[in-house]
């Protein structure tokens, strides 16, 4: 069927695009393809692009596999698996000159491109009386053969991933497999295979690792998958996972859990976060621990619900009336998502403050390799100075009458939960005295305000012992290359690190954004003459934030169309910015 083997570029870097209509199973295909390449020992990354539409509308995933760790997608692809004609038309420009596109034989005539190869997908489906959604499976079978992958490993993955009608799926896949010739050979790499998980899964597991008792949410892209995931594992982990009537209820119910001593986290996106801000301020005043996962998407308002953005940094930093300390962290990949979710929950509880995990659609819904070895122990860092009477639970069994807001050196009061025999635990949204009783006294107000803000100072100190700013200095590609640095945060870590490596630039990624790690950031800037901030927003929010601490970016690369930076796009823009 297929003509002779085209030459495909170095297998240290393969990109496969699978595309079709929303609802046609493109997402699932992406996962299967990703796992297939991952299990061969390649480092794998999957970028997912889908509209806010259940059926129809164009959806695609780009699966990238390479010898080295990668955390970004490329525009250029080696192989397109076109489940409909639109896919080829849309993405033709991405396909390498020597690339190939697999499509249904029916479509081939409409695609007069020598790189397109027809496979009798619909014919096979008709013969097997298989439903249309199995076109995917057939296509994946063809892909495996074309790239020289054995059928048994594919069969194993299909059995794991496709619970409905596995036999028919495998049959259809095999027919696809048999319908094409091998055009290139992807050699298995004999080395450790790493887990391939989404950022959302990493956050979910990190929260569990941090001791989560309850996850509460109202569905909202891009954090809905955390809700689904934790609902699925709630029994094993003994979690309460609740989908409530709206986001106001979500955060207030979570604060009820916290009061009763159970670690709760909530997940949402912009609009839902708006509704949580009043609860956030309550958490600040009442000193109740709470962890909020804020998944950013393209705004304002409903915006582009299934696309990404980094435009809520300053909102997250200032959300809620009045002034109170908060911890704000923006992980850049799966390992960071896991680590900081676990540590974030600890910070929230040890300092009795809200912690925010600032995620985005690209972080949450892309698939990343997860390398355990890169993850520090989230229980390791000591946070509060030893000897202070402020550990959770320290209130129980004291001599004194328990005072929920006892003044201490660090500002952190002993934390106890009902029932506390002989003690009364009062939390209060009004300004209050140490016992939690309402006050309007000016002195008391000032003292309590200071107490709460003191916690931020101690948190900043504690974080000195943790790596809060990542830097990367690749091989120097020129005399002064390292004098230029890319500044990035969140999911732009991947593209920036790869482009930095290619161009020999320094890359600086503050992971913790509040309290701002001024000292570590200062150190990272050593030797840097030109700092270019790379952000998915229109106003360079991180660029603006660092000015508060006396730093200044002198270049901006901004993108507001909801899509992730591809390597090529970013590289081009960086070169322009440097010129």
């Amino acid at each position: 069927m297929m003509k002779e083997t085209p030459a495909i570029a170095g297998l240290d870097n393969l990109s496969v695009l699978v595309g079709g209509k929303a609802g046609a199973g493109i997402d699932r295909s992406g996962t299967i393809l990703g796992k297939l390449l991952n299990r061969l020992g390649y480092r794998t990354f999957i970028y997912r692009d889908y509209p806010s539409i259940i059926r129809g509308g164009h959806t695609f995933s780009i699966i990238r596999a390479a010898k080295d760790r990668i955390v970004a997608h490329r525009d250029e692809v080696d192989i397109i698996l076109a489940l409909d004609r639109e896919t080829f038309v849309h993405h033709q420009h991405r396909l390498k000159k020597e690339g190939i596109c697999l499509c249904d034989a029916r479509e081939k005539t409409a695609l007069p491109d020598p790189r397109a190869f027809g496979i009798p997908l619909s014919e096979i489906l008709r013969e097997e009386k298989a439903p249309a959604v199995m076109t995917n499976t057939c296509m994946i079978g063809a892909f495996a053969k074309a790239t020289g992958i054995d059928f048994p490993p594919l069969e194993k993955i299909l059995r794991q991933e496709l619970r409905k009608e596995p036999e028919l799926n495998i049959k259809v896949a095999k027919r696809g497999y048999d319908a094409v010739n091998e055009v290139l050979t992807i050699q298995p790499l004999p080395r450790e295979v790493l887990p391939l998980i989404t950022g959302n899964e990493a956050i979910a597991l990190g929260l569990v690792r941090g001791g989560l008792d309850a996850y509460l949410s109202y569905p909202m892209t891009p954090t809905t998958p955390i809700l689904h995931y934790l609902a699925g594992v709630s029994r094993e982990f003994g979690l309460d996972v609740l989908h409530l009537e709206n986001e106001i209820s979500v955060i207030l119910t979570a604060l009820g859990y916290a009061y009763a001593g159970k670690k709760a986290a909530v997940g949402t996106s912009g609009g839902g976060f708006c509704l949580m801000t009043e609860g956030l301020s309550l958490a600040g005043m009442a000193e109740l621990p709470i962890l909020v996962v804020l998944g950013q998407r393209t705004g304002p308002s409903t915006g582009l619900p299934t696309y990404s953005a980094q435009s809520d940094l300053l909102f997250a930093l200032h959300a809620g009336q009045g002034e109170f300390p908060r911890f704000l962290v923006a992980p850049g990949d799966a390992e960071e998502a896991y680590y900081w979710s676990a540590l974030g929950l600890r910070i929230s509880w040890e300092f009795q403050i809200p912690a925010l995990i600032l995620s985005d659609k690209n972080l949450g819904e892309s698939f990343f390799n997860f390398d355990r070895k890169l993850v520090e122990d989230p229980e390791a860092p000591d946070l509060l100075p030893a000897g202070e009477n402020n550990k959770p639970g320290a209130g129980a069994g004291q001599d004194l009458p328990y005072r929920r807001y006892e003044l201490t050196g660090t500002g952190v009061s002993p934390l106890a939960f009902p029932p506390l025999a002989g003690g009364v635990i009062k939390v209060n949204s009004y300004e209050h005295d140490e016992a939690g009783i309402t006050t309007e006294d000016p002195r008391q107000t000032t003292v309590m305000q200071e107490k709460r803000l003191r916690k931020a100072e101690y948190l900043a100190r504690a974080l000195e012992a943790v790596k809060t700013v990542n830097t990367y200095e690749g091989e120097d590609h020129g005399a002064h290359a390292h004098q230029t640095a890319l500044l990035c945060w969140g999911s732009n870590k991947g593209p920036c690190f790869e482009v930095g490596r290619r161009l020999g630039l320094k890359v600086i990624q503050p992971v913790v954004l509040n309290p701002f790690p001024t000292r570590q950031f200062q150190q990272a800037l050593a030797g840097v003459k030109k700092l270019i901030t790379v952000e998915n927003n229109a106003t360079a929010q991180l660029g603006r934030l660092i000015r508060n601490y006396g730093f200044q970016a002198n270049g901006e690369i901004l993108k507001t169309d909801g899509r992730a930076f591809s390597i090529e796009e970013l590289e081009k823009k960086v070169k322009e910015a440097m010129a």
Binding site: L205, G256, A260, V424
Partner: protein, 318 residues
């Protein structure tokens, strides 16, 4: 054993004569003296939750665990506490503006879910702490400070609304009838499931209905609270002043609203509805068809097991 001291030393700032005083006393009495044959809940197992309004101050006056929440959000907070620790006895205190206005959706959902908590509404039918605006239960035409020409909307009948929402215990008390309040509150606390007590709490400063109520209230008798239709009829007997031409206090012109000679409407007090149904927590449990293992919940802190499970999941994600 010395008796537990339920008092705090916080000065009370309610207006003299406010209906919140007898309500506070009734609550205190119920918590202090268990009903016949009952073992009292240990004081440390009680948790009070309050909204923002005059009513909310009640938690400052009781030496009991409390969560002084924000305006309109008593219900989710109380729900969270109860779900987190079913051993706690959770009692919410909310205002009519608070629970029937600002955060009405939560009230309906607490009823729908049959969360095992008790909510006491200080229904003074006005926003008091913000100095006298009309509320969700003010009579039509009430001339509050935001509606000087008279409120343009009829009140909700909160009990009717909650009956339709699936509440399993509905009662009405009157702040000038302390004994009955005690009895109702005691039964509400003992009820397994969501219990709402609407207390006609007189606000002497902004809407003094003491006399008006005194002339109209009666205690239901020969009433079967388990019978939905009987309950509905009792609940609908008084409409909180929805009909301007009726006999409800129109505030603006009470004379007109309650024309002399016409018969006065009657306001039933007591337990109006009561039904047994599985609570939310029970439905979450295996016994109720869910997968929430109490046993596992106890051992939640077994970090090691968790860690192992996480590793297993990761190993399976390749």
């Amino acid at each position: 054993m010395t008796a537990y001291n339920f008092e705090t030393s916080t000065p009370n700032t309610w207006c003299p004569g406010c209906g919140n005083f007898p309500l506070l006393n009734a609550v205190k009495a119920v918590l202090q003296e268990p009903g016949e044959g009952e073992t009292p809940t240990p004081p440390e197992n009680l948790v009070l939750v309050a909204g923002i309004g005059c009513h909310g101050k009640i938690v400052d006056y009781l030496n009991i665990n409390s969560f002084y929440s924000i305006h309109g959000r008593v219900l989710p907070v109380a729900t969270g506490i109860k779900l987190a620790n079913p051993d706690l006895e959770v009692i919410g205190f909310a205002g009519d503006g608070d629970a029937y206005g600002e955060g009405l959706e939560h009230l309906i959902y607490a009823a729908k879910r049959n969360i095992d908590i008790t909510v006491i509404i200080h229904n003074n039918r006005v926003y008091s702490l913000t100095t006298g605006q009309f509320s969700p239960t003010s009579p039509l035409g009430f001339p509050g400070r935001s509606t000087p020409a008279g409120s343009p909307e009829p009140p909700l009948n909160p009990l009717e609304l909650l009956l339709a929402s699936g509440a399993t215990f509905l009662a009405r008390g009157f702040s000038s009838q302390p004994e009955q309040m005690k009895q109702i509150i005691r039964e509400a606390i003992n009820h397994r499931g969501f219990a709402l007590v609407d207390i006609l709490q007189v606000c002497v400063t902004f809407f003094n209905l003491h006399q008006y109520y005194a002339e109209r209230v009666y205690t239901v008798e020969d009433h079967d609270p388990a019978d939905y239709f009987q309950a509905l009829n009792k609940i609908r007997e008084w409409d909180y002043g929805a009909s301007p031409s009726g006999t409800s206090p129109g505030g603006a012109s009470p004379g007109k609203a309650n024309p002399g000679g016409e018969e006065k409407e009657r306001i039933p007090l007591g337990i109006l509805y009561k039904k047994e149904a599985p609570t939310f927590a029970r439905r979450l449990s295996p016994a109720g068809g869910g997968n929430r293992e109490e046993a596992t919940r106890e051992s939640r802190t077994a970090a090691k097991e968790r860690q192992a499970l996480i590793e297993k999941i990761l190993a399976g994600s390749k």
